[in-house]
Symmetry: C2
Subunit: 409 residues, 2 copies
């Protein structure tokens, strides 16, 4: 059995990235409505052409005043001001305030010229139609939001690579931006290989194994916004695999082959990827655990990323995230926020020398972190896990009681 | 100005929940393919009708043996065994092993009867076609996964209320379950009110304010899987609001009215909700900050949940999550895992007496937690925040250096 000459995770990603960049094709950019762009990566920086707010406005229901007019007013000795009008929501307030005057302002309305503070209606009393008692002394700027307080005109709101959240969609709407340029999400085909596999379309016979990876990788693709073009379940047969891969490369940005990624006699993935892609196999073997037998390739003719993943479900899920999603993030310069927490290891755990270890864990409410070991890395462990920890290549292990960062799944 | 008689968050949710339950309608349940059920809430418990694995299988490429036959074997002194056949992937292995015999087994294949351990091919040497040297002594069970090791036949996999993750979809596939019963996601209509508001369809004029909440609440709805039926921007006019609400109740499970939820003279929401829903206003005012002026109602005739949210974008987003998403979780008995981390407060922060405070925060890589204050709770703060902290009703505040739980947005 030939041993794999492994790359580090970063080396493997960089080789694939460099081929992608060298092809000169780049990721397609599309313009989308902000609501349709939710969870997409911005392909442009966003600059606000407007100030927010666009005018000085009241943050209370009450009276816009000249602050100095209220000096000395208190609960027992009010100041009396003349009401010279009302500012209307959504309308320009044309009034120019003089000393001794005030204007009724609902929350959010424009304050009149010369006014610099507002008094809440709770601290006032209407005496006559045009006279109000003010029971509070307010300072300059009180209960007023100034023009541009939130966003200055011409200021940068988001950089390229921002992944748009629901709040971002609201933020963009507040400055009148309803369409944005985003990177197109990849289209993907998933090929699962194995004579022993059956899926929902085939009849189960004793001795067979139900295919997990097609649905698992499809679900991960959907979560990442990728569009699934096709799903295939094929036998361990190099000719069929080659034909399926060829066809898939013509209509997908990414083709993932699950299973057959080692160097055993029935493992056809690396031979087929080497034969079919213009660059040949770039990496066969990545220094990670689980997931060492992983293959990458790139085809310049069809501009397709090809990844051979281990059949082991946990390894295939981890490597899909690291290589496929990781490459997409690299290309889009995506600034995804990792959802992480810090916990305390509840037991010792050795690392794998020379390999980056991704260990599934559970986290309890007190942030105690417990590794979940499955005898053969069965899918159940992935389903039960809250997240994973990373032990670096040069790390010997981690001790009970040590602090450790947990990445949510 | 009439003051609001507030409910606690739990009281408000419970009142609404009780009306919902009393209506007897319940949430619709639908059967979906597991891939389409991603992020849905299970409406049934899942029991496995099969064991996983369904037979004892090898976890290595190598030879299935009777463990005791290998006793004493080591690197320098091998044991020789007779190769009596090969187990094929996906096929029943019909061989019954006798002492002194072994069978070639690829990873995942069925081991022969009477064998109880496997030796990795790396620790063997093929001597002739039917003779192999074994260089390792293995114990009973070595490199074998026993039938049912992962899942016992008849065991419960998921309880009702489980939110299906990508890993769960893989897990279900492993036991041959491709369709599941899930709770239907709500359909929702969003009505934003305010004379001052303009949206992308209307022309912006100086003095107007660009509507944020329709898109913000739409984006939050999409993230939660709700289906948006309609979006309206209406003037501060009780008649128009009433007509729009009536119409929306006929085709949506939830109607959200943003803005006009206080008790000011132009605040029509509570009057209209009281008039139009069968139960009248259930709650007007919730003891939370931000978001106090929130209204709930339920209409038994159309089975519609009606919620009046504050116009303030941050408050409207927070209350949407707490009330609308919170009620859905309550009805579906959803066991969502909160994505949380524990951090250290970087400054003192007072609570609001008698109100549950939801404070937006940033978290740095060392888990220092800093509150983000916006002068009027502007949308920018929500977009910049990593998460929020909760200060309970009876809590006086939190001190710099205290540990605090942060909920990711």
């Amino acid at each position: 059995m030939e041993l794999l000459k492994v790359d580090s995770l970063d080396e493997a990603k960089l080789k694939l990235y460099n081929e992608y960049i060298a092809s000169g094709k780049g990721l397609e950019i599309e313009e989308k409505h902000v609501l349709d762009a939710l969870d997409y990566i911005l392909a442009e920086k966003i600059v606000s052409s407007v100030a927010v707010p666009e005018f000085d406005r009241s943050v209370v229901d009450g009276y816009a005043v000249i602050a100095s007019d209220t000096q000395g007013a208190n609960d027992s000795i009010p100041t009396f001001l003349k009401v010279v009008g009302e500012s209307k929501m959504g309308e320009v307030c044309g009034i120019e305030l003089k000393s001794g005057e005030c204007v009724y302002v609902p929350t959010g309305s424009m304050i009149p010229k010369n006014s610099n503070a507002c008094v809440m209606v709770e601290h006032t009393e209407s005496i006559t139609d045009d006279k109000v008692a003010i029971y509070e002394a307010v300072a300059d700027g009180k209960s007023v939001v100034k023009k541009g307080d939130d966003i200055k005109e011409g200021s940068e709101i988001f950089t390229e690579g921002r992944k748009l959240s629901a709040a971002d969609v609201g933020f963009l709407s507040s400055i009148g931006i309803y369409k944005v340029k985003v990177y197109k999400k990849w289209s993907i085909t998933i090929i699962s290989t194995g004579d022993e596999l059956v899926d929902e379309k085939s009849e189960y016979k004793f001795g067979k194994i139900r295919d997990i990876n097609t649905n698992l990788l499809s679900a991960l693709s959907i979560k990442y916004g990728f569009k699934i073009i096709n799903k295939y379940l094929v036998k361990d047969n190099a000719d069929i695999l080659e034909k399926t891969l060829q066809e898939s490369m013509s209509n997908s940005d990414v083709v993932v082959i699950s299973g057959g990624s080692s160097k055993g006699k029935k493992d056809a993935s690396s031979l087929v990827i080497d034969k079919v892609t213009s660059s040949g196999v770039l990496t066969h073997g990545i220094a990670v655990k689980p997931g060492k037998p992983t293959i990458t390739g790139y085809d310049k003719n069809t501009n397709t990323v090809v990844v051979g993943l281990p059949g082991h479900p946990v390894a295939s899920a981890v490597l899909f995230k690291l290589i496929v999603c990781g490459l997409y993030d690299m290309i889009t310069n995506s600034q995804n926020r990792d959802l992480v927490c810090e916990g305390i290891m509840s037991e010792n755990m050795p690392a794998s020398p020379g390999r980056m270890t991704f260990q599934l864990v559970k986290i309890d409410k007190d942030f105690n972190v417990t590794p979940i070991f499955g005898r053969s890395g069965l899918i159940r462990t992935l389903s039960e896990a809250d997240g994973y920890i990373i032990l670096e290549t040069d790390q010997e292990g981690i001790r009970k009681g040590d602090k450790i960062k947990v990445y949510y799944l």
